[in-house]
Subunit: 443 residues, 4 copies
């Protein structure tokens, strides 16, 4: 039975990232982890090359019964024990001798953590692509509206003039920073390889079947490197069974993504309020409809992004809490990471997917921005008036006088003439965007 | 495609509660909410009785395409708009006039929130039953081991003697308290009924088709009552579109459940450590197996419970954060509740299901408890020795002398004679358990 | 040195609740716990009445050096060991024999947890009083504006008409519910009394100095009851050293308080936006000022409340996480509760204090509400138009037609005539408020 | 009144970091931010050099009334408005003209955020130093016990042999990674400079008093650079009033610190359990004492560290949640960051301070490790036996046979001969430690 079709999570329902992190994809990643291990061991001569090839060829999720694995996971508190049994049987069905090399010298956590990392990398690639599109669209908005005057608001009140371009540039730098952190976190994700308790003893023992005099130190270095190379993942200094730094960094980067997109979303919601109406979400047939009110066009893209952004920080907290992983493998702290990490990936992935749609089609109403800017009248430049008056009457008295801006000369009170260095700041952000584009993307 | 078969959540994989909160069950609850609404309106004469009966008869999840609803949920940021269209089409297929009475005067949030509450009630009934079995088994342990001496440990060190019965009684009172809070929170769950913005205007308008002179006040009172009665849920004072107290209470009660069970789980893990070995999880074929180490028998039931308990507090925080629901319906805070609440229900449900298995089959080794108690020798009663010495030499000097307990008379140093009121405290807990059993369970 | 004068927490800086939970108040509560224990033991004849009186008389925070206690707390991971030494010295300075009865048979956690509960009760009383004032002011707003038309907003867009009274009634029911939960949680707070490991053995031993043949069962029942009576706190079934349900309930109730007040605050912020301007915070000299812009009047009360509300859910999660308290006293989970609980108390307390100020002085602009309601024109009743049209052309076609409301007759499109049962719902909320007022307040 | 002397937080009570982040230090940092701003403006010729010097000389916390500032912070929801008034008065007292240049063109958030960053940098320097000492001591433990056999434990059960050196190396790599992230996050902390709404308009206006034809673009670039240089902080691309990435990264790095130290702490607690006793915390007079049990020596250092580690993840979640900062300055999301960030700094700082004490004095009992390793007998190498048997009878049959290890030849069952690549892995970790030491520390 499908327990989750996305019904409760519109932000990712039916999106590519949802498939990339779904149970079947996880199962495939477990198979990829086993196959990569066999190939790494074959590279070093401990597994026959043909065996590694056969294992790789058979490592396809459709050969296994996912629901059965899920249910039998209760016996071991993880699905790997049942998975190894089933996959071994699949391989044994093809070649009995090759089956001896499945999960050869390995342990559940090596396979599971490596699978998790593979899933994260694959979802991460989708995310980076969507963030790149989002950044490009935001950069375009910033460029186009570099000098479009708008009112800045602080603590919910009109403050001073700004430009819509600077607002867009602010969104851009936030998303850029998150994109950078995510790329770094993804690139740092290491294979997991330690054996039953992190000493690699199982792999040493397995290798000794071929080379009884093997030096464990050599095996350690070479196997870690070979496994990382096979799966195109980072090589860890040590097995990280109980050092969960890579996962906390990943989860945090995903929260930065939803945080930056969430900032954009709350602004879009506010700016598209009926009374403000400075921007509007892109229309589409049926989008934003209400089941009760025919006239409604709700900012649903921003709403879905914000809903995701409200969930990540606490999910990250759970992952972070799991750093308190006792012994050589903890009873609970490891197991509590999995679903929250998947949730972070698919919520952030859904948010990025949704952000592309939102930003690429955002409607900007510069006239309305000007109209709103005028609501506050000369008050919106009270800061400037106070500054000018201060030159003659001093700061203290000027602050009092500035609350009567209507008495000031018009050359002081034109709000479009008080946008400071907004344009130059936009240029700074665009320059940074230009630089960042040269950072090598994840394959 | 099945995105979630439970592969990442052994604690609830394949358990009854998992089905009760899965997408199909949620869809059924939405249909139940619509059908209940039609019947409530029929009770009051605003919908033909036959129409309500037809709607009720057709309100079956198998008539609808769940995956399509999930994907189309992105257009409205919730699946109700698409759901109403599809269900209306189903009813129209049977009878065109009746279709006019589907979702009659209603709004998405009324249906969705009521469905959520129905799902929670159904999952909650399973939870209460499993908690009752857990409590009964814990009470039995407390009774049986009322006077079984064991060492109490504080800050990871031997402290003073206690009894295993008192430890079990402590687990019992924790689970009892959580069970009580859960029952109360479930009983308090109200129907949602407010119409587009909580004024009931849509329902008033719908009712006026039959009774043009209808007094809105009467409609409000009678429709809220009728809807609650139809679905056997509580009647709210007001629509609670933006007062999420009932959901925070529910989520909190679920965290109390996993908190109380998690306390039990961490104790079982500690007491079943190789060096301590005072209790053992019930064995079962394949249970507790390792993919690497044939000798392993891991405390997997406790591990799964603890993994759940590590996740609830943060999920509850997300639900709690969503109380900041702006306007008459928020853009994000409402949407962010759904998945976390489901996660709370199925994790707590899985934990309760697992706890039954754990507690009913727990093996207790009273001999080993005695052996461990003796490790610390007379030091384990240093408190008593200090107290006795204090009678003659004063408290300060006594504390110094008590660190040399080996010099004390044996009648002072028998640890089994220093369990205080442990037995009487067990009796207090069992008495409370007896009282609580009389609390009417949820139907 | 003062590490915290409230500089980083304006919401509670200098408020009464801040003092009630400050370190000196905590120290006083520890003394009250010791004195109460001595009196309870005196009631039962185990401590001379004069000794209990002397201990009570000397139990004043000014006799102790708070900073020294704080620093020496590092030796035991809690301040009680140093505190008992210092307080014993104070008593010994007055009467050497009486000093023997300080902390008689007791343990650190009994004193600390009881002190925490006393602090919570005292802060809670302030909170309840401020919530009562807030509720009264909200009820007044609801009553006065029972029929004041306003536009309801959902997902940031104009939805249908409502009344400002219903909005205020919604705030009221939220705060009322939180107030109720808080009162219940406070009344349920029990004394802590268990001795070193929850068996009461230390107290039994202490009592046997007077009555060597004492039945431990009798001591348990009578001492728990006497201690609860002395401090006017609830009597627990068992010592709750590792059953933290009472604290989770307390923390949750406080989060309900800030959640309900936070909902009010975000609404006030939105409604006081420059473009909306339907309400305004009460003015006061200097309030809402900016360091840069003389014209600014920021909604600072709402801002402070919202800032508190953003913090509670996660603090509660920490307290909730601490339910996983291993053994008979955990090494960390107990210690991690203290500061988060205090933070919950003072943030919620500050928010309630601030809410009184906000709600009692809120300015409501009914004219502006009418103006805003008219912005959307007849569209704001598109729901109604669709319903009326549906009577003749069917629901589906009506929904399409309703998007052209300008073609409808005026009697359908007056928004003030489409507020449904809003008035009656206000009456329901006020009736509930009336009932709740009769609930006995905490002393 | 001192509301917080550390009484509720032994982990940081009286430690250097507590002072570094206390209210007086925060006030001093605000003054440093103002003085730095004046000097930066003087560098560019917009403020007389003498004025900047006078402002810098007068920028001392003792000239201001901290408690008054804290209480008056309620008027603006932050203390900066009152602070600017008071500091301006101080300067005016010395020289009226110079007072015109206090907070010249500035805004509250520029000063407050920059002050926060300065405080974080100062606390961070203490943290890095303590983490370096901790790492050095862990490296020494790893080196010394590179080949000390011990039992590895997974899911609370004996697993396979390992070495204590590898366990220490695991602690080391975790702390090293956290130290690295913290150093990077601290170095990335930027000055805040944007003016009232991030356009720098106030600073442009101020500069135009000297140079009426000033190009705003030049001012933006040069003033950001000058301010960063004056305070030795990073230069941001844009004002980050509503892009809180730097603070989330900082908070996350602090959680990595407590996560890595917390992992160490839970292991120390487990390994020092009475029944296990493989390590012991360093003794000190009075340390680890109980108020009830004279014999107790509690692992209090680990307890305090763990208590801190339980709090950080949720505090970080609050900071992360605040990324949803609406408009150009949010009403609440900004304000909710301050106390949680301070709490992160002082809890992590206290944990690092405590870890130095713990690790530098940790007692390691290699004999006891050997004794415990022997408890499980040959079972502890069942993995190896199964591997060897598999060579002849196949993996499946071997797994069954391996559960009877007692029938195996002794050369297979010596646990100290089955530590895999543990030694080589220790060497890898020590090599990494060597490299990392060359990373330039924060000044």
């Amino acid at each position: 039975m499908s327990t989750d079709s996305g019904l409760l999570a519109p932000v990712r329902a039916g999106t590519p990232v949802e498939h990339t992190v779904a149970d079947p994809a996880w199962l495939q990643a477990m198979l990829d982890a086993e196959a990569g291990l066999a190939r790494a061991q074959a590279r070093l001569g401990f597994v026959p090359v043909e065996a590694a090839e056969t294992i790789t060829a058979l490592a396809r999720a459709e050969h296994l019964d996912l629901a059965s694995l899920a249910h039998r996971s209760r016996a071991a508190a993880n699905p790997v024990v049942a998975f190894v049994a089933d996959f071994t049987a699949v391989v044994a069905g093809a070649d009995l001798d090759t089956a001896e090399y499945v999960h050869f010298g390995s342990t559940s956590q090596d396979i599971w953590d490596t699978a998790l990392v593979l899933v994260a990398r694959r979802a991460g690639a989708l995310l980076l692509a969507d963030l790149d599109r989002t950044c490009a669209a935001l950069a375009e908005l910033a460029r186009e509206h570099r000098d479009t005057p708008a009112v800045a608001r602080t603590l919910a009140q009109h403050a001073v003039p700004t430009t819509f371009g600077l607002r867009a540039a602010g969104w851009l730098t936030g998303v850029l920073a998150a994109r950078h952190e995510l790329a770094v976190a993804l690139l740092a994700l290491p294979v997991q390889l330690g054996g039953a308790a992190g000493t690699l003893a199982g792999y040493v023992q397995a290798a000794r079947r071929t080379d009884p005099d093997l030096d464990p130190a050599l095996l350690g270095d070479s196997l870690l490197a070979a496994y990382a190379a096979e799966l195109d993942l980072a090589e860890p200094v040590l097995p990280w069974h109980t050092d969960r730094t890579p996962l906390v960094r990943l989860a945090t980067a995903l929260a930065l993504v939803t945080g930056a997109l969430g900032k954009l979303a709350v602004d879009v919601q506010l700016l598209s309020r009926t009374e403000i109406a400075e921007v509007a979400e892109p229309g589409a047939p049926g989008r934003g409809a209400s089941s009760a009110m025919p006239h409604k066009r709700n900012p649903v893209l921003a709403t879905m992004i914000r809903a995701a952004a409200l969930q990540l920080p606490q999910l990250v907290a759970t992952v972070s809490q799991c750093m308190l992983a006792e012994d050589e493998r903890p009873g609970g702290a490891w197991h509590a990471e999995w679903q929250p990490l998947r949730e972070c990936l698919r919520l952030a992935g859904g948010a990025a997917y949704t952000a592309v749609e939102l930003v690429e089609g955002l409607t900007v109403d510069a006239d309305r921005m000007r109209t709103n800017l005028n609501i506050t009248g000369a008050d919106v430049v009270s800061e400037r008036i106070a500054a000018v008056l201060a030159e003659t009457v001093g700061k203290k008295r000027a602050t009092q006088l500035a609350t009567r801006p209507e008495e000031q000369p018009p050359e002081l009170t034109d709000p479009t003439d008080y946008t400071g260095a907004a344009g130059a700041l936009v240029d700074r952000a665009l320059a940074r965007f230009g630089e960042r584009r040269t950072v090598p993307a994840l394959a």
